[in-house]
């Protein structure tokens, strides 16, 4: 690894990092701040009608503040927006330099391809880490100012589970970024794979292959059991994608 390379990567990605953190944080802060408003809104509706539309949702959703935060954040905004961020970050990490041809300039410096690859991957992971945790921590911090009780431990654990899911998407996007010479193609391929996985999970037996289902951490939030095996499998998949990406990069010609 090489600090010069890392500095350069971070510099190139800085605007994405800032923009991503701002957007995610804004969305995160909106959740606890709008809680009372939403409750008031729902209380205006007749209870029978509410039950008609939301019958399957546990009614304590509106009574349990932590559950509400989780349902809006870990089960909705964070996976959706986080996935978009992971794709946007990952797709240009390698394909960006291949596309504007600076890769051959970089690779004619005395650096190993391994260091180049690792500096890029590390940058991607670091960016996602900063975005996700800044937003989540600020959300929990803000929630502490409301009169409602917050189960910080549970929310942090759920965000950890979501992070692992986003890591899978980031790695997949990096893999395609290595294979394709254009960021747009890499992003498109990642979206395509995710859509296929999501569509496949409409069939019950295939639900298990959809990373989105695992990354909510629903089981843990509602039943309290930590999804150890899905988390391990997702980590393994992510590392696997990165290993393949590195292998492809070592062979790639520029």
């Amino acid at each position: 690894m090489n600090s010069t390379l890392l500095k350069k990567e971070l510099r190139e990605a800085l605007w994405k990092l800032v923009l991503g953190t701002v957007i995610l944080t804004a969305l995160a802060l909106f959740i606890p701040l709008s809680y009372n408003f939403i409750i008031d809104l729902f209380s205006l509706l007749p209870y029978e009608q509410l039950e008609k539309y939301l019958g399957t949702i546990p009614t304590d959703l509106f009574n349990d503040f932590s559950l509400y935060l989780w349902s809006q954040w870990n089960a909705k905004n964070l996976p959706q927006l986080g996935a978009i961020m992971a794709i946007l970050v990952g797709m240009s990490l390698l394909a960006g330099e291949a596309n504007n041809k600076t890769m051959s300039f970089l690779l004619t410096r005395p650096v190993s391809r391994r260091s180049v690859f690792l500096s890029k991957v590390l940058t991607g992971i670091l960016m996602m880490f900063i975005m996700v945790w800044t937003a989540t921590l600020l959300m929990i911090f803000t929630a502490g100012f409301t009169p409602n009780a917050v189960d910080t431990g549970k929310l942090l654990t759920c965000t950890f589970i979501t992070s692992i899911g986003l890591f899978v998407i980031l790695s997949l996007s990096i893999l395609f970024s290595t294979i394709f010479g254009e960021p747009v193609k890499a992003g498109g391929a990642t979206v395509l794979i995710l859509v296929i996985l999501a569509a496949a999970s409409w069939f019950k037996p295939l639900r298990v292959i959809n990373p989105f289902i695992h990354m909510y951490g629903a089981q843990y939030m509602i039943a309290g059991t930590f999804p150890l095996i899905p988390v391990l499998l997702m980590s393994l998949a992510a590392v696997g994608f990165l290993a393949v990406a590195m292998w492809v990069f070592q062979k790639k010609e520029y």
Binding site: N2, K8, E12, S104, F105, T108, S112, K251, E253, Y254
Partner: protein, 296 residues
């Protein structure tokens, strides 16, 4: 004699096109070596193979005694490279790219960098994306010579330069690399770029090596003879070894001879003639002639 570059049977294909075809080269350390060929002859691919940007399908290569596939990083530590169109980070300033490149190398001659930044009047705070094509090449040259490389590889370096800048570039190569006893590998499709400075030239076409010679040798071994005979001469006179081609107009012949001038001259003189001239060949003509014949 130590060799700076040693390629053995190097081949590289893209789909069905052979970009480099069983290429072998020996570049002596301390020389200026011209690597000549028309556009698309396989020069850039050869250089990319040498620097580890691409891997050969077949063959081996050593640069500064190091294996091109296994020890590429060490090769790049001791080799400067200026690409045909250097694509550097456009968002960086001149100063920033220098700062970026410097930590990669064990040696960095800051005095040299300053000298040539000043000489070319490159704007330190100017963004690379705003530099002209010529300035871009000049900056890439500075970055390539700053680590005092043992080998400098230049791929069509004069492409974006005007005549004055070309001459300056050649002078800098001589002053900073050649006079110090280091090696220069200079690829070009223009003979004009290399004939002034090169010790030796390799001519390549369609991925294949056509000829390797010193420039002096090239000039003295290839001659044209213009002869006007007094009578008809038999056709088999022109099948002598060494005769590359000939054209005739009546009894006047223009004969291109390579390597066997004296024997051919003796044979010609067996027939009575009115006039006989030996014409020194311009390098450009030799080059064009060789490339054209290799296509046939």
């Amino acid at each position: 004699m130590t060799l700076a570059i040693e390629l053995e049977g190097l081949s590289k294909s893209f789909k069905d096109k052979k970009a480099v075809d069983n290429l072998s080269l020996q570049v002596p350390a301390g020389s200026i070596y011209g690597f000549l060929g028309p556009n698309g002859a396989g020069k850039t691919t050869t250089i990319k193979l040498m620097l580890g940007l691409m891997r050969p399908d077949n063959g081996r290569g050593k640069i500064l005694g190091l294996d091109i596939e296994k020890e590429s990083e060490s090769i790049r530590r001791r080799t400067g490279y200026v690409a045909e169109m250097p694509h550097m980070y456009g968002y960086m300033t001149v100063q920033e790219i220098i700062k970026f490149c410097r930590p990669f190398y064990p040696v960095w001659n800051s005095g040299l960098v300053e000298k040539y930044l000043d000489f070319f009047s490159l704007p330190l705070k100017g963004k690379i994306k705003n530099l002209s094509k010529g300035m871009n090449t000049q900056l890439a040259l500075i970055l390539a010579i700053a680590p005092e490389p043992e080998l400098l590889v230049l791929d069509e370096p004069t492409a974006g330069l005007d005549t004055i800048n070309r001459q300056e570039l050649l002078r800098i190569i001589l002053e900073e690399i050649s006079v110090q006893g280091r090696t220069v590998f200079l690829s070009s499709h223009l003979l004009h770029d290399v004939e002034r400075v090169a010790d030796q030239v390799a001519i390549i076409n369609q991925g294949k090596l056509i000829d390797v010679r010193s420039i002096d040798d090239l000039k003295s071994s290839v001659k044209k003879v213009r002869v006007v005979f007094q009578k008809e001469v038999p056709d088999d006179l022109f099948s002598l070894p060494g005769i590359q081609s000939y054209s005739r107009e009546g009894k006047a012949y223009l004969i291109t001879i390579e390597d066997n001038l004296q024997d051919v001259l003796n044979a010609i003189k067996n027939y009575p003639y009115f006039a006989l001239d030996i014409i020194d060949q311009n390098l450009e003509d030799i080059f064009i002639d060789k490339v054209r014949r290799s296509k046939a």
